[in-house]
Subunit: 442 residues, 2 copies
């Protein structure tokens, strides 16, 4: 007997190192785990909770490996501006307005958007993270949370973020893990980074940090101190701990051996933001060849506008083919490998999520493949990668619990979230440059 | 009194050479035209047809300036292969299976997908176009249709496509226009192209053709005959007629003056296909600077997988910023200008569609902007360009007639279309290389 049964889906499962579709199966869930995937039984026992999938595609829950989710409250306020202006004239002045309550409702809005688009885990890097964690508790998703710290806040500021990390690690039935989150080598000096490492070591957690976001940062770091940002991470001991690096568009060949020697490192790839801000691209082929995991990400909605991992997935593969001018580059199997296994490895949960397989945590998303934009369904995998829209997601299970059913939220109150966020819009749109936390000058 | 009233929308309208949002307006339609756009009246006369928009965003109907719409029947069958293999091992062998009935139902499927995603006009280039035209009559959309002709079919084959063009030009209440559609300079010799020009001249219509699709075609044409594909179009008289060129990724600076001297020429830009096939990109900045209209397109679903112009729009702007490594490139206003005015000019209907303005044809699309991925709505234009999914389209009016209402089709039978297309799937997936119409070797 299962606690939850997903009945009659087509499941995207790993088989002999490849993804394949098992047609007409039931996925049985016990507690927080997938217990069985078996050919559909027409009459499930009436006592268990049943989600009737009617041939929908079941995939492992999508993972967003680097976001600033509550930044949805600034969505659409910083368009068509250079990275310098984006930080100095828009984002940091805007963030001077931010309150804990904004983060609470912004995180709920972001989680609602992500649940509706099949994202079950978010790796987040922002402020007032106690409120973000409370929103995760409410929403029922999985999250890896880090409270962003700037060198300008001093070590007391850093210590407060460590208090958050300690309080919330492995909370919410284990759905929440925490990470120390020093902002970046260009906003934190080496001493500050080493202090973050000491906190992380003490707490038994990892570090989530921006580094080598674009090539100009690498060039500037080399000019100022003779080291690349990745070398700084190695030098300060960060790479001796589990590390998530966003975004790595400025990673150079000399960095690769350092990343290979690291304890456990993954790179979060957010292509829509890179295109929009003109940042270049993460060197995915070189990193993959070196065995460094790549995960999909959206960054914050102030640059990415959406928190849609399906869109990130599609942009990633299209851009890899484009940059190589070779349509054979990154075939469907590799896209799926990065989307699921790569992303899970980046979040440090490669043994627990990212697979529809008995024993793995029950994070499952059901997608309607009946739309006119999917017909006729010669290939469900091609359809998933190239045709599926966030709006095709129908139902979402996280940790064995149903959060979205036929597009209806079971844990979040959409109308209330919209009301709460809208009432702060005018204040949130005010920019106070003199109050910005930093000046961007990497 | 209007025949149709769209009540209480936020309308994207041109004003002093820019796009702006008029909030809370009614759009009144008389016959096939927009008659008025006025502040919302709470109580419209009961006798007219009213579409209650409830604050939805009204935009001009989207235009797809180059497609092979019925190719949806091959969707997902040619993934991760080079352009040579795509043509020679997949598409042309697959098309040897094609029947007029496949085109009829394939066109209905494609039109249903496009209507649902806000596309009201398609410029199509394919085979068995009588059946495609019948599907357009049924669907109620606008279309610019050309029957594709290859040199290998001889002048009799070409003459048959001219019979189609003559029969259908300005039919279906003027919704259908026709174009001669020789395939490309690399599949049609000059004599054949001149014969197409003669037919077009006789019928008073234009030419829709593939040319300089990618740089290798331009290089090969220069090597073989010392002329670029665009020079061939000029030389054979095509550019003396209205011309739609797909895709122009191989246009070089020497081609630009020829395009400027042309009578009326536009370039159809289908970025998803270019990324997927590694074709490079249309040189949009140089073409825009020279005053050559650019329109958005999807190409066929066998390369593009979807017929989603919102996706083409988003990819276009993101790639322009990426290629220039400059986020200030192609700001929102320019995206909107290309999406609406550029596309209308490419289809040769710049004075008739692409604007919500009294006197223009009533092609209007209503978009739900209430989704969590749009909140909070600091900027409706940024939201439209960067956040809107095809599934957000709610209602569609073409030529003053409601085709889609709250996502329900009023002219097409989705269940029947899916049934008809699915029953031919096995046959359609068979590849018969020996029966292919051509060999790709530009």
């Amino acid at each position: 007997m299962f606690d939850l049964l997903i009945q009659n889906c087509n499941a995207l499962v790993p088989e002999n190192g490849r993804f394949t579709i098992r047609h007409a199966v039931d996925i049985g869930v016990k507690g927080d785990r997938i217990a069985a995937i078996e050919p559909t039984q027409p009459d499930p026992p009436a006592t268990q909770q049943v989600v009737v999938a009617n041939g929908q595609l079941a995939i492992p829950g999508l993972m967003n490996t680097h976001a600033h989710a509550p930044m949805v409250v600034f969505r659409g306020l910083a368009e068509d501006v250079t990275v310098h202006r984006w930080f100095n004239d828009y984002i940091w002045p805007l963030e001077s307005n931010l309150t804990p309550e904004d983060v609470y409702w912004g995180m709920q809005l972001a989680l609602a958007e992500m649940i509706e688009s099949g994202v079950t885990t978010v790796t987040d890097h922002y402020f007032f993270m106690d409120e973000a964690a409370e929103a995760v508790v409410q929403a029922g998703t999985r999250a890896a949370l880090g409270w962003a710290a700037f060198g300008s806040q001093g070590k007391e500021g850093l210590a407060k973020t460590a208090v958050f990390a300690q309080k919330w690690h492995n909370q919410a039935d284990g759905r929440i893990t925490t990470w120390m989150a020093p902002h970046a080598p260009y906003t934190c000096d080496d001493d500050f980074l080493r202090a973050a490492v000491a906190h992380a070591r003490r707490l038994g957690i990892g570090i989530h940090i921006h580094a080598a976001e674009e090539m100009s940062q690498t060039e500037s770091s080399l000019a100022k101190r003779g080291q690349t940002p990745i070398q700084v991470l190695a030098e300060t001991g960060i790479l001796d701990l589990p590390t998530i690096i966003a975004h790595g568009c400025g990673i150079i060949p000399a960095d690769i051996p350092l990343l290979q020697q690291a304890k456990q490192v993954g790179i979060a790839h957010a292509p829509k933001t890179y295109l929009k801000l003109g940042s270049g691209l993460t060197p995915i082929p070189a990193l993959r060849e070196a065995g460094i995991p790549i995960g999909l990400a959206t960054d914050g909605a102030a640059s990415n506008n959406t928190l849609d991992i399906l869109e990130s997935m599609r942009l990633m593969v299209l851009l890899q083919k484009h940059e190589a001018r070779d349509p054979e580059v990154m075939p469907l199997q590799e896209v799926l490998d990065i989307t699921f296994h790569g992303s899970a490895a980046v979040v440090g949960l490669g043994e627990k999520i990212g697979r529809l397989q008995p024993g793995y945590l029950a994070d499952v998303v059901l997608i309607d493949m009946d739309g006119m934009h999917q017909q006729p369904r010669h290939s469900l995998t091609a359809g998933f990668v190239y045709n599926t829209r966030a709006g095709d997601v129908q139902s979402v299970v996280v940790n064995g619990r149903l959060l979205l059913h036929n597009r209806r939220h079971l844990t979040l109150d959409k109308a209330q979230i919209i009301r709460e966020v809208q009432k702060s819009m005018t204040r949130l749109a005010q920019r106070v440059p003199s109050k910005r936390i930093q000046v961007y000058n990497p």
